[in-house]
Amino acid sequence: MIPLLKRLGLNTYDVDKTPHIEVDQEKCLHCKDKPCTISCPAGTYEPSPEGGIIVHYERCLECGGALVICPYGAIKFRFPNGGIKYKYG
């Protein structure tokens, strides 16, 4: 199995200076299952040692799933101005 970061490394990104994804850490602290950490294909959401979520927005594959994967509505998502550039698609 090719590890995620190596696969993401195959892609070309033009990463925005500011994140296009924000999470409501207050809600994350109360969230036990953290489904976003399982459902994101880019591994964008990582549990932090304090019980919140670290957002690796630079990994985003722009699938749009952020709009449905959090049952508590803690993810605020818009598409980045730069972001991914698919060569095959």
């Binding site: 090719i2 995620l4 459902s39 699938c63 749009g64 799933g65 698919y86 698609g89």
Partner: protein, 404 residues
């Protein structure tokens, strides 16, 4: 209030470009906004296009479009427990009804066709909000605001215009995640291509996989409803690799991509028109899965063409708020007719697909096993159905839905 154009199209994928090409041919003053640096930069699709709509838009497309291979072989893989698997194929050599495509190449080509016809495309323009103002729609982008009396939302499944107007409620059970890899492959030149549809490859998740042959690569993908992902045995980020290993596909991986897929079905389609705005392609939720064909691209191009013609009528009569004409045209077209036709099979696939493969494998295993005990096929099938708690009534009902 002044407007920047008669019509602004949000999104330069298949549906937006088809709408743009049609509207420009109809003589409208159009601006298309594309958030990618080029068309296709943000697009991911399974990679198989049924070409009837494309040929309607561009009649000589077969000679010019960057298509990969004609698909003339359909293969199904149905995985069961205990290393069992059903496979079957259907071949139709010489058929030219669908082609494998790579969207970063294809959309770029279609965009250049559109530009040659006079469509103004503004690239790297990210629409992130829309609201109603002064008899039209104002679109907020990273390059400033633009306004038009008529807007086509071709922004894909996330439908930024309808969403901003409060007309979309997305849920995890009605969206699928598609993950995909492009794998380098040593394939013979000029040969026809194959589409492989795979059922039950990964346990727990609700969805399936596919493999399409391109010119010198394979498109391998796996789709699963977002709500089923936390229940699966593999996390979303590793789904495609688990599927590739299950299929035994080796070769250099060239790209890893992901995209959400609208999975509504005819009875759950979102609003397709509102005052001053109409939705095309994925933004309208136009996706069909009837077990035989899984398609969105021909619906995207088809709905784009219809939207372009409808726009001309709306602009001509200056009745920008009265966009229902688009819906009426959709109803008369193959788009809503096919979506309606597919709905029965679509619902069977979604409710019952997880139960039948294992039963089928059990029956086949019995038939291919010789011991002193032997049953008729019907007795065995009934026993195997009963042990999984499936009544004959349900089977008949499902069969009826599959056929009708």
């Amino acid at each position: 209030m002044s407007f920047d154009a008669d019509l602004i199209i949000v999104g330069g994928g298949l549906s937006g470009l088809s709408a743009g090409i049609t509207a420009v041919r109809e003589g409208l003053n159009v601006i298309l906004l594309e958030r990618g640096e080029y068309s296709g930069a943000k697009n991911v699709s399974g990679g198989r296009m049924y070409i009837h709509s494309l040929l309607k838009l561009i009649p000589d497309a077969l000679e010019r479009a960057p298509l990969e291979r004609p698909i003339t072989k359909e293969t199904y893989y149905i995985f069961c427990e205990n290393n069992r698997k059903i496979t079957f194929s259907f071949e139709e050599r010489g058929k030219r009804n669908s082609y494998s495509v790579l969207r970063a190449k294809f959309d770029r080509w279609l965009a250049s066709e559109a530009e040659n016809l006079g469509l103004l495309i503004s690239y790297s323009t990210n629409v992130y909000n829309a609201y109603r103002e002064g008899g039209g729609i104002t679109l907020e982008t990273d390059k400033g605001s633009l306004r038009a009396p008529l807007v086509i939302d071709a922004s894909g499944v996330t439908s930024v215009v309808f969403r901003s107007l409060g007309l979309r409620r997305f849920t995890a059970d009605k969206w699928m995640l598609g993950v995909k890899e492009i794998v380098k492959a040593d394939l013979e030149e000029g040969q026809e291509g194959e589409a492989i549809t795979v059922v039950n490859a990964i346990k727990g998740v609700k969805g399936g996989g596919f493999v399409y042959t391109n010119k010198d690569t394979l498109s391998i993908g796996f789709t699963a409803t977002f709500d089923s992902l936390p229940k699966g045995e593999v996390q979303a980020k590793d789904l495609i690799e688990a599927f590739r290993e299950r299929m035994g596909i080796k070769g250099e991986v060239l790209e890893y991509s992901a995209h959400a897929i609208p999975y509504y079905g005819y009875n759950n389609l979102p609003p397709l028109y509102t005052k001053n705005v109409i939705a095309v392609g994925d933004a309208g939720g136009f996706l069909i899965n009837d077990g035989f064909t899984i398609r969105g691209m021909d619906l995207a191009i088809g709905s784009g063409i219809i939207a372009g013609i409808a726009s001309k009528k709306i602009v001509e009569s200056k009745t920008y708020e009265d966009t229902e004409i688009y819906y009426k045209m959709l109803e008369e077209s193959f788009i809503l007719k096919h979506l309606r036709l597919a709905y029965n099979r679509f619902s069977v696939i979604n409710s019952s697909l997880s139960i039948y493969p294992e039963i089928l494998c059990n029956v086949l295993s019995d038939m291919f096993t010789v011991s002193e005990e032997r049953r008729t096929l019907i007795t065995d099938a009934l026993i195997r159905l009963r042990e999984k708690g499936v009544s004959l009534g349900k089977v008949v009902d499902d069969l009826r839905k599959v056929m009708l």
